[in-house]
Subunit: 183 residues, 2 copies
DNA sequence: GCTAGGCTATGACAACTGTCATAGTCAAGC
DNA sequence: GCTTGACTATGACAGTTGTCATAGCCTAGC
């Protein structure tokens, strides 16, 4: 893994664990084994650029999951989305939450890309829901519910250090989508 | 309003707008019109204590809303919960999101109280749902969904600078609770 | 073998952070 | 009127932050 993207991935991880403010450039360099000097070689835009790239990097991974599973229908997309968050929480031992949400919560300088990411995820879900026979307006709403509730559930699961909030939300979401798709 | 609680309230506001890391003690003092020296007079525990008190202060307000509206049944509680977040977003002109979530997202030093707050909110909702005839396990899950999805929706609405995500989530939540209560 | 350029190493800078000590103010209670 | 104690004002501290300049390394390409 090339050192540049290792820094981006490391930034995503650290931001997910401690937020943007508590993630210093020095610490990130140490964390990824890169020299501090390299940071401004790879990222002339400084910390802001690093944070932004971390956000789009995370978004790219999620988009891939969503796009691939979307072909299998709404329930498959939902399950894949849920599973990826579950795995994310478990492999981090409930230390990390979504870096995109962390960025969106903090200062507004780098919040632009984060805002687009949320819209992108929601926008990816909408046609999948529609293809399963859900009306456009309802699909828009349901897509917001799925993205919003899972983002919220991840924070709460991490904070409780327990899978319960995520699984509860997942179960209700499944029932709701199943009912919306069926009739 | 006594200057001490003015600092607590100000901390809650600033944390909701910029996160814990980006909220400095000096800025908070200036923001609330209090002298810097007073901070450590009122809060010998330093910034951590301030952050913690801000979290419980916010929680107290929400608990009061939830408890009062809960007497009117599940739908009333839900509507009150939604309304309070909507007002929160509008009066801050979509600059603020939930301070508790901001704390929970960032460092783990002060995350303990935030974690309890989420559990408290969820726990307040459960008996209200049960009293409307929803089975215990389902009520637990629905309560997590309500708290989690609204927390998520607030972040996304703020980030989109638009009420759409919140209203979408609100509408779906209303439908779900209405259906769960009825039969 | 040598040279150019991507990368590293080191160190510095000004600004800011949380924290605290100390001295000063000022109103309430005797 | 005086004293006590809550509060304010000021300034300092050590550490950390983002940022960048400069000097060195070290590997491709000729």
């Amino acid at each position: 893994m090339d050192p540049r993207t290792k820094m981006v991935a490391g930034a995503a991880q650290l931001i997910g664990e401690r937020g943007v403010g508590a993630t210093s450039v020095r610490e990130l360099a140490k964390f990824t084994g890169a020299p501090l000097g390299s940071t401004y070689h790879y990222f002339p835009g400084g910390k802001d650029q690093l944070v932004q790239e971390a956000v789009v990097w995370v978004s790219g991974r999620v988009e891939k999951i969503l796009a691939r599973a979307g072909e299998g229908g709404a329930l498959a997309a939902l399950d894949a989305f849920i599973a990826s968050w579950r795995e994310f929480l478990i492999t981090s031992d409930y230390e990390a939450s979504c870096p995109v949400l962390a960025v969106a919560t903090e200062d507004t300088a780098t919040a632009g890309p984060a805002s687009e990411v949320f819209k992108t995820w929601q926008g990816l879900l909408v046609p999948v829901l529609q293809r399963d026979g859900i009306a456009a307006e309802r699909a828009e709403r349901l897509a917001w519910l799925v993205v919003g509730s899972l983002e919220g559930a991840v924070v709460m699961a991490r904070s409780q250090r327990s899978p319960v909030p995520l699984e509860a939300v997942a179960e209700e979401l499944r029932g709701l989508i199943r009912a919306a798709v069926k009739p």
